[in-house]
Structure formats: C-alpha cells, structure tokens
C-alpha cells in the first residue's frame, strides 16, 4: 500500500526517526478512545506545516490515504486508518506561537494540548473557554476537527465560536490560510468554519488562530438533588427562562448516580433520581454570589430535595466530584462502553432519558445517562463486555434505537464528539439527501482523489444498517476473544 520508494521520500521529508513502521509501532497508531483498531501502513510525525504539505503532495501523487491524528483521544473513531495508508501524527507540532492580549487571540499549532493553552492564557489573565472532558490530553487540532465542546458550552459556545483563522494543508499539498487575527469578517465564504468539524476529511489543520476572552476569576457551584428527572428538567427550564445564563448545567441520571455511589463509597452523591450541577462565573464576586443564590432559590421553589452551594475551590471540587467520577466509575462496571453524544431540544430531555431507560431494559444492558442538560447534549453510555457472545449485537440494537429516538425528538447524532466511523451509518437517517449531497460535493471539490481520512462521516450502507457495529475494525478478528488463562 505504501511502497518502499514512498517510505524513502517520507524519511527524507521528516527524518528517519519520525517515520514509524515497525510492527509494534503500527499498533501504537491503530486506535483512538473507542474500541476500534486498525493498523496503518506507516505513521509519520512531522514538525512543520511545510513538512505536512510535502507529505500530502507525495501521498496525493501516489493516491495513498492520509489520516491526521492529534492526541487520538476521540470517541467516534475519527483517527482509525480504515483504509491503511499514512497516519499523520501531529503531536510534535505543539508550539504556542503567539498569545496576544492586545488582539485577544492565540496562535497555536495543531498539536498543542487544550489545557496547555488554557494555562498559558490564564497566566496572562485571559480565558479559552472550550473545556472538553479530555482537555488534559486532547489537542486543539482535534478540538477543531470535531468542533469539541464541554460543560461551559452553555454560556460560552463550542470550539467553532473561537476559531478565527486556520492554516490548512489541502489534499494535494497546497496550503490555505482562511480567516486571520481579526475578530470578525464578512469577506466571502466562511472557509474557516468549513474546516471546523470536518474531521480531517477536507484538509489537515496545522495552525489555528483562536479568540481569547478576559478571565472570569470568580466561580460558584451549586449541586441540586431531585426526586424525579422531570423536576430536574423543569428546573433547567426555570433557570434558563428566569434571565440566568449559568456557565454549565450538568445532569446525572439515577443509573449514573448509583454507579458513582459504588465508586465513591465514602462520600456518595445523594441517592436520588436526578442531580444537577450548576456553575456560575464572572469578574465580580458579589455578582457571582447573587447569581448562584438565585439558582439555589429557584431550585428550592422547583422542589429540589437538597441544595448545596460552594464558592471556595476545595468545596466546589467536592460538589463536582460526582460528575468527574463518572468516567472511572463506568469503566469498572463493564470492560467496554459505547459512549454516545446525542443532542435533543432542551425540553425533550425527560422524554429522551425515559426512552433510553426503556431501551436499556429491552436489551438488558446498563445505560447510564449524563451530560450537558443546559444545551440538551446527553451522553448515554452503553456498558458491555465484548467477550460475551451476542452482547455486541445487543449494543448495536441499543445504539441504533438511541440515535433514532434522538432524531425523532428533533435532535441530532452528535453534539461534540463528531461522527467518525462510529456514527456514519446514521448520517442518512439524520440528514436530508440534499444536505448529504452538498457535503459530498464539498468533499469532492477539495479532495477529488478521496485520500483524506477515507471511510469517515459518510454512510457506507445506507439501505440496511444491520451489523454496522460489528463491521467496525478491531484486531480481535484474527484471534478469538480471550479471557485470562
């Protein structure tokens, strides 16, 4: 697939130490944050936009697939090299090139870690709001590729709301620099936005100009417990229609709460049907205190069983603990999970959670639901064990039913993780044929040979989705799944 003369040229471009094709090294570039796994033919770790451009020109000439990869922490299979070829490891492009309080922007390379930019910005009194749960490991290039979000999206918006300019290497190696250091522009097509959420299928993002805000130094947190999911959902509506705009409103459903309670036996969250964690921020302590006080007051009126408020960092962390413990708590119940990322109109959250509870009972698998209640973005996680015969089929049924329920309620497939390979088969169910046509036309125009991240975003079996989950690649196909001897 990648002939030796091409490998020689790759070594000439980036240096032999940065072309990886040992048998073990190919394993290291075969996965992401899902269960999927497929080896590339070669992985390359460039350091500059010029090197990326040369690699793409070479790949284009030989029609070799190229899969750009940041930190491979994605949850949709976006960086799995489904057609082999070259995996482009952008982690070495990790310089913060500029951080300008005067212009209110940061210029970063694609491999900069989200938390590193946040720390650098905070040191200058500035703020980069998007906060995906993976911010300690995710790359900003990956955040742009998936239009990553996080709890603070409610008040501050997602990655796309901060991208002001990009350097993008196109499929044939040409370099495009849409946008710039300006905070607004009406100068033709918004090409910058076209590449946000494009998941490496239209070009390789190598540099990003991001907008920064002044740092809100004051924060306050409230944790609210409710006897029913409906009461929690009503409270969300009450808060958001009362003139308040909290930074985040996070929801934990009953299943999630009980899993977290097992994980934190010393300090379990209250054993209720629903928990909300609400955060407010701002520059004035009194204003933030007043806002969180209003949240607490409205919650009590809406029938909250327990209201706890904190402003000191340690106490706020204690209130957030139940939310932060979810991921490890899930991992310990079953070895595998399929994390979904659906979005529904806010008012449909109770209906969606009820539907998921029913689906969980139908397939006999635990499906805790948590997520960003303020913007209707929910993370149902289907927990399973791939080694149990027949379990994967039940996961497939559950996942399909969840997608279909979200679409029926006026929602969509993904709020912040992206489509990748995991959700591609449901794109035809969500998008009208005309919309898919327009997306394909863009893809065709920018990547006529189809070398950029092939197999992602677009459905491959639009007529019959049966078996879509089992069809995703893993290494286990070669050897039977095994248990410890």
């Amino acid at each position: 697939m990648v002939p030796e003369p091409v490998r020689r040229e790759l070594r000439a471009i980036v240096g032999p130490a940065y072309v990886h094709d040992g048998p073990a090294e190919l394993i290291a570039y075969s996965y992401d944050g899902t269960f999927q796994q497929q080896r590339p033919d070669v992985a390359v770790s460039p350091r500059t936009t010029e090197e990326v451009a040369q690699i793409l020109a070479l790949a284009h000439a030989h029609a070799i697939p190229v899969v750009p990869r940041g930190a491979a922490s994605g949850l949709a299979g976006g960086v799995i090299p489904l057609a082999g070829g070259i995996v482009l490891n952008l982690a070495r492009m990790n310089r913060i090139l500029d951080l300008s309080p005067e212009d209110g922007v940061a210029v970063v390379e694609a491999g900069v870690i989200t938390a590193q930019l946040q720390a650098a910005a905070e040191a200058r009194g500035l703020f980069y709001p998007p906060d995906p749960a993976s911010l300690n490991q995710s790359s900003l290039g990956g955040n742009v590729a998936t239009n990553a979000g996080g709890p603070r999206c409610l008040k501050y918006g997602a990655t796309r709301d901060y991208v002001r300019g990009l350097t993008v290497v196109l499929a044939d190696g040409r370099v495009l620099r849409p946008g710039g250091r300006v905070l607004k522009q009406s100068t033709g097509y918004q090409l910058t936005q076209l590449f946000v959420g494009s998941e490496g299928t239209l070009g390789v993002v190598t540099e990003i100009i991001l907008r920064l805000l002044p740092l809100p130094r004051e924060r306050a947190t409230a944790r609210l417990a409710f006897a029913s999911l409906d009461a929690a959902a009503e409270t969300v509506t009450t808060l958001l229609t009362a003139g308040l705009l909290p930074t985040a409103i996070e929801l934990l459903d009953r299943t999630t709460i009980s899993l977290v309670a097992d994980y934190l036996p010393d300090r379990p969250p209250p054993p209720t049907d629903a928990l909300l964690i609400v955060e407010c921020d701002g520059t004035e302590r009194a204003a933030v205190a007043a806002e969180i006080g209003r949240v607490a007051e409205l919650a009590r009126h809406s029938g909250a069983l327990e209201v706890r408020v904190a402003t000191a960092p340690a106490e706020r962390a204690a209130l957030w603990e139940a939310r932060r413990a979810i991921s490890p708590a899930l991992g310990r119940l079953r070895p595998n999970k399929l994390g979904e990322d659906i979005v529904v109109p806010r008012s449909q959250i109770p209906a969606m959670v009820r539907r998921i509870t029913a689906i969980s009972a139908e397939v006999g698998l635990p499906i805790p639901v948590f997520g960003h209640a303020g913007d209707g973005n929910l993370h149902p996680n289907i927990l399973f064990d791939r080694r149990v015969p027949g379990e994967l089929e039940r996961v497939e049924r559950a996942a399909g039913a969840i997608f279909e329920a979200a679409i029926a309620l006026g929602g969509t497939l993904s709020g912040e993780h992206g489509i990748g390979s995991l959700k591609r088969e449901f794109m035809a169910a969500r998008l009208a044929p005309e919309e898919l046509w327009a997306m394909r036309a863009l893809k065709q125009a920018l990547d006529p040979k189809g070398i950029l991240n092939p197999g992602k975003l677009f459905p491959t079996r639009p007529d019959d989705r049966t078996g879509w989950l089992a069809a995703l690649p893993t290494l286990d196909g070669v050897v039977p799944c095994s248990t410890p001897a």
Binding site: G22, I27, Q137, A485
Partner: protein, 440 residues
C-alpha cells in the same frame, strides 16, 4: 443482568503476560497518561507513551504481534516511574505490567550479547542478592575513589576507551562506615511513641550509610525505637524491573522472613524505590500460597520514612533551620506510594522555606539503572529537572531516594551548578541532632 460465563481461551502470547491480561484490558485508551509520561513528553510519539505500551503489550498477549525489536525498545524505554498509574482513571497498574512485559521479553527476545548477559548475571545473581558480597564490592569502589585511581582513570581517558565513562560518572562517593544490619537498636529519645524496624537497603546502607544513620536518629529523636533486623537484604526492584522475577521473589521471601523476626509495628524505608517494591510484595507473591498471606501482612507494616514521621506528628526540633529549599518528588514516592504532602510538611515543620519547582514529579531520569541503559533520555530528563530547580532560586534540592540523589548530584556536578542535593533524612537530622556538627 445476569452474569455470563466467558469462553475460556488460552492466550497465544508469552505466559508472563497472562497474569496481567485483566490489567491490560482495563485501559480505555483515553490518553490521559500521555500528559504525565516523561518519555512521551520528550518525544511526543505514541509508541513512547503508556497507552502505546499497553496496546503493544496487549497485541503481544493476544498474538497479533511478536516480541519484535521495536516492541522491546519501546517497552524497555519505560522508566517505570508510575506517573501514568497515578493518573489513570481506569486503574491500570503500569509497574506490574512493566515487570510482566520485561519477564516476557527475557523469555522471548533473541539473547543479548554474551558479555551483557554475564554482567547482568553477576549483578543480579551474585552481587545484589548477598549483602556481604555487595559490601565487599562497595569497599573496593571506595578504595578506587579514595586511592587516586579514580582521578587517574578519569584523566587518562581510559574510561572512555572502555565505554565505562557513563557508568563511572554515576558512581556515588562511598561512605566510610557501612550500616550492617545485625539486630542493633537505637532507643527512642524521651517517651517511646512507636516501635519501628529500619529497612537499610543495599545502596543506602553502603553509599549512603550516613543517611541510614540519620534516618534512625531522626526517628529516635521523634520517640521511635528503631531496630535493624539481621538477614535483611536487597529489595529486588532491580531484578523485577530487569525481567528476573524469580530472583525478585526469592529476595522478597528473605526480607519477609527477616522482618517477621521483629515485633516492630512499622517497617520504615528511606529509599522510595525500595519502599515501592516492598509494598509490591503482596502482588509479587500472590500466586505463591504459603507466602501470599505473609507478604500481605508484611506490606501492611511498610511505611516510607516521611509517611510515618508525618503520621506520628513530628516533635518540635531542638534547632530550627533557615534557608530556601526545593523538593523533588521521587516517582516511587509520589506516584507509586502517593506520598506527596508529607515530605513538604516535614521540611516546613523544621523552619525551611519551600519553593516549588515546575514538574517536581516528572522523573529525573534515574529510574534504577535507566541512566546507564538509556543515557540520552536520562540526560534530557536530568537537564530539565535541574533547570526547573535552578529557576526556584533554592540552594538545596531535597529528595527521598538514592537514585534521584545520584542522578541529580552527578548532573549538578557535571554542569558546575550551585546546587546541593540532599536526602530529606539528612536535612531533618540537622534539625533534630542533639549536638551541633560542622558541615552536617
């Protein structure tokens, strides 16, 4: 949701990995470990990351990958610093996995050159297991350092010629009077608060014998009776990390037996690497029925020196110290034993001003004998650590592990930096000693 019996299939990969298979499967590939891994932070290459090493080991266990040279290189470049274990949300235990991977490599990889094998055999099987032999070698080393031979060898270029310059530069100056465990006792000063048994260590009791004595003095000054049980020996960390699990188990059994002879409530260790290893004995001997329970009882008694002293509550020292110090977290204390606050608390308690350095818990590159097997990586980590320490403006780097001491002392000396590197027991001894001593 009923429990289902899983099909039991024998793993095709090398047997040492079988016992760690469940550990391997814990990884959810989130990538959080990349943010704290020294080798990943230096290279930014996935094959040099914990997640990569887990995926490669799993592929070997499942038969998708053979023990190839690139597998061996990327697995052996792991420092076993446990920074990843400390942050892993899924509970993967990297040290245990690393030991199994090295054992698998020892079984499967093509044999190393004959001289390397002979040297490893000499070190692992002849010198380290027997403290009498170890002390004899250490004495020889001291003679080499004091006789003028060392100066001559360094000047002559002979060391470079023999390829021994790196090893030689890392030799710690050997203390004159070794600590030889024979059941001797330091009585508690004042009312006795606690009964302890000191694990003297091999490198600690020879090269850093004075630090062992300082440890005993500080404990005694804080009301601990300190005894030094006979027949204790090397902890076996070097063996486990080098793939010789059989010898590591043998050394563990000897130490367990040696300390069973003592009625002390707590087994105190002043070397973070040894302490982490002693706390691993229950896992190491889990499949050895007569010893598994004894190992668990042993592990329950083990505490790092700072862990015990902070828990007891240090007494007000006779002398308060002044000056600015920075603290370097040994990996095997901060990550493996999760002891971070206690050393800092103790330094402040004796009056010192503690200035935190950046990345205080990123491995300094010592990692057992890693600075000898991987000099380039070790050197980069050493430079990074010393630069962070210098930036604090402190005159002294305090740490709690012989490997870190040797690594940072050698680095500071070679670079001519105005930095002292001291073990925390020696620092606290300055505050607790009864009589003032020049140059203490």
């Amino acid at each position: 949701m009923s429990e289902t019996t899983l099909p039991r299939v024998t793993l095709p990969g090398p047997p040492p990995l079988h016992a760690e298979y469940a550990n391997l499967l814990q990884c959810i590939r989130c990538g959080l470990c990349l943010s704290v891994c020294p080798t990943y932070q230096l290279t930014l290459l996935e094959q040099e990351s914990p997640r990569g090493r887990i995926a490669m080991a799993r592929a070997v266990a499942e038969g998708h990958l053979a023990v190839t040279p690139d597998f061996v290189a990327h697995e052996e470049s792991c420092l076993l610093c446990e920074a990843c274990t400390a942050v892993c949300p899924a509970g993967v235990r990297m040290e245990e996995l690393g030991v199994a991977v090295r054992a698998a490599i020892a079984q499967q990889a093509p044999p190393r050159p004959r001289l390397a094998r002979l040297l490893q055999w000499l070190a692992f099987r002849v010198v380290f297991p027997d403290l009498r032999r170890f002390r004899r070698q250490a004495r020889l080393l001291r003679w080499y350092q004091r006789s003028g031979l060392q100066a001559l060898a360094r000047r002559s270029g002979l060391l470079k010629l023999l390829g021994l310059a790196t090893i030689e530069a890392y030799l710690p100056p050997i203390d004159a009077a070794f600590v030889v465990p024979r059941g001797q006792v330091w009585p508690a000063r004042g009312p006795e608060r606690h009964h302890t048994a000191l694990f003297a260590g091999c490198v600690m009791s020879t090269a850093f014998a004075e630090t062992d004595r300082a440890t005993a003095r500080v404990l005694a000054a804080n009301g601990c009776r300190v005894e030094l049980p006979a027949s204790q020996g090397c902890c076996g960390a070097l063996h486990a990390h080098g793939g010789d699990v059989a010898m590591a188990r043998e050394l563990a059994r000897r130490n367990i037996a040696a300390f069973e002879a003592s009625a002390a409530e707590t087994i105190v260790v002043n070397a973070a690497g040894c302490g982490a290893m002693l706390k691993e004995y229950a896992h190491l001997l889990a499949d050895d029925p007569p010893w598994a329970d004894r190992a668990r009882a042993f592990v329950r008694r083990v505490r790092d020196f700072t862990e015990l002293l902070a828990a007891l509550g240090p007494r007000e020292p006779p002398r308060r110290l002044t000056g600015k110090v920075t603290y370097q977290d040994p990996c095997h204390l901060a990550h493996a034993q999760r002891v971070r606050a206690q050393p800092r608390q103790l330094l402040r308690a004796v009056g010192l001003e503690l200035v935190e350095m950046k990345e205080s818990d990123l491995c300094c590159g010592s990692a057992g004998i890693y600075n000898l097997t991987h000099p380039t990586t070790a050197d980069q980590l050493q430079a990074r650590k010393l630069a962070h320490a210098l930036a604090t403006g402190a005159e002294v780097i305090v740490t709690a592990n012989p490997g870190c001491l040797i690594q940072l002392q050698a680095g500071a000396a070679r670079r001519g930096l105005p930095l002292q590197v001291r073990h925390i027991a020696d620092v606290l001894d300055d505050a607790y000693r009864e009589e003032a001593r020049d140059g203490a």
